[in-house]
Amino acid sequence: MELQAIAFQLIIGLATAMLYWIVSSGLTFTFGVTRILNFAHGAFYMLGAYFTLTFFEVLHNYVVALFLGALCVGLVGALCERTLISQIYHLPIHFQLVLTFGLILIFEDLVRMVWGSVPKMISAQFVGSIPLFGKTLPMFSLYIILAGIAIALLMYLMLSKTYWGLQIRAITSNPEMAMCCGLNPTFLYATAFMFGAFLAGLGGGLTLPISSAAPGMGENIIIYAFIVTVIGGLGSIKGAFISALIIGAVESLGALFVPWLAIALPYIALSAVLLLKPEGIFGEA
């Protein structure tokens, strides 16, 4: 019985982990390529939820709405990169944080202007549950786990099997050399940013079935994305995946054994990792 409870809790933890992974994958990817730590990633997440919502209301097909929504967020991301972010690549880190914070403020108010301040939900999707270990697992958990794995696969294929991925890896590991070989940094940085925003938008759209879209929804999730990214090593995609798994497991087991401490556990994990290995699990020193 006890063992079953642990196993069940681990599955729940896996679902949490996959949600964290989906949100932090784009953040760490964008940082790895462009060296910009994008606070507005949370705003893209929020936009993803709202775009998906609107497409769903028109098309009544959740999966199509999800992809169209994320694609739109990707376009918004590319637009931001071309007009604003590209101006600040050479500036110190605090200018980047503050500029992307400004973007959050702007996007949140834009969302309020267009969709209003009241949280919005879509009609039920992925409801129901399946029996597992004598308890019931919500369908949504299963679906978010599958989505997380799908995104990991998508990133793997994009980065290691396409020509674009090859170019991205080249410009990440040695920008000067890559440019000498004739790669176009403007195009690559813009598309990298677009891909990161696309992933954030996907994350926002994916959470719609269980949580409503609200103007402040990105502000809290971005903190978890930061924790996951820093633990995994800034810029490391593999690191983000593994640290999301760690955080998910720590959180779910913590909720079982030390419920009063549960909320602090991700932060304790963060301090522990940073004390032992300041650059993160897979980070470069």
């Binding site: 605090h94 503050v98 930061f226 820093v230 932060y267 300041p278």
Partner: protein, 302 residues
């Protein structure tokens, strides 16, 4: 210096106008001025970007509110305890975070302040959760509280000024400019940064305690990371290299916010656009513009 004394002296007159709202707003401005100046000890003078100063601000505000309303501590004792807690927080966070630099330092401070936010939201019995704590006594009528805050803020700012202009402050600026060199001359980087953290966190705590008394309420808003972003942005708008930069832009920030919210719900949008403009076009901040203007006047005169 002349200008500062003039501003302080003229602000002595504000309560005499008898306008309660103006009085409340100007007290708030003074408190946020101290928040920004204390933050800038770490940012402008030590080159460390903290994204978690809401921890020190709300740490002292909550300590004061809890001690006074739940445990019936005398107000003055609660005030002092709040500041002491902020000092302890800043040492604890400093020990854990100061070995990191730039982005990692920002992230670690952010994480710890959000940990505190999480506790505040969840520990309902003590902190009141999302509703916060109401009914904190102010001890003084607003009229006198204004003078009290003004005195505390001016004295604290003067202390901070002496601190950053002392030898210690010079070493901190040296560390900001070139860490290795300062290390070679035999100074412990970690120790000096911890001093800066302590001064910055403690005086942030002073402003937090004043805030709790002014509003007579504490809510989780002041412990959320978006409240940590306030001094970061205000300092960048004002110009971090100038001691008064953060103070000047706090004034602008509160007054402009007050005016804009009268006309539109979307003041965040306008503020966001202003941030973009500062980062893209006026990186020296307001004081940078003023200094350039004075420079060009001097050159023109020659």
């Amino acid at each position: 210096m002349m200008l500062v004394s003039l501003v302080v002296l003229s602000s002595l007159l504000i309560p005499l106008t008898g306008n309660k709202y103006a009085l409340y707003l100007s007290t708030k401005i003074w408190i946020l001025v101290l928040y920004a100046i204390a933050f800038n000890v770490l940012f402008g003078y030590s080159g460390l970007l903290s994204f978690g100063h809401a921890l020190f601000f709300s740490g002292s505000a909550y300590t004061l509110a809890i001690l006074v309303t739940r445990l019936n501590f005398p107000l003055a004792l609660g005030f002092v305890c709040g500041i002491v807690i902020s000092a302890l927080f800043s040492i604890a966070v400093g020990v854990l975070s100061l070995r990191h630099r730039e982005i990692h330092f920002a992230m670690v401070t952010l994480a710890f302040s959000m940990l505190f936010w999480g506790i505040v939201m969840k520990w309902r019995d003590v902190t009141g959760g999302e509703d916060g704590i109401t009914g904190v006594p102010r001890g003084l009528p607003l009229f006198w509280f204004y003078y009290f805050s003004l005195a505390v803020v001016v004295l604290s700012s003067y202390f901070i000024y002496r601190f950053v202009k002392s030898d210690l402050g010079l070493i901190l600026e040296g560390i900001r400019e070139n860490e290795t060199r300062v290390q070679f001359s035999g100074h412990s980087i970690l120790k000096y940064r911890l001093y800066a953290m302590l001064v910055s966190g403690t005086f942030t705590g002073v402003s937090g305690a004043l805030w709790a008394l002014l509003d007579r309420t504490v809510t989780p808003t002041i412990s959320h990371w978006t409240f940590s972003a306030v001094p970061v942005i205000v300092t960048l708008i004002g110009g971090p290299q100038n001691f008064l930069g953060p103070a000047v832009s706090t004034l602008i920030y509160v007054i402009v916010q007050d005016i804009i919210t009268k006309y539109t719900l979307y003041w965040q949008f306008i503020f966001g656009v202003a941030i973009l403009a500062v980062v893209l076009f006026f990186r020296g901040g307001v004081m940078g513009i003023v200094e350039n203007y004075i420079d060009s006047l001097m050159k023109g005169g020659r």
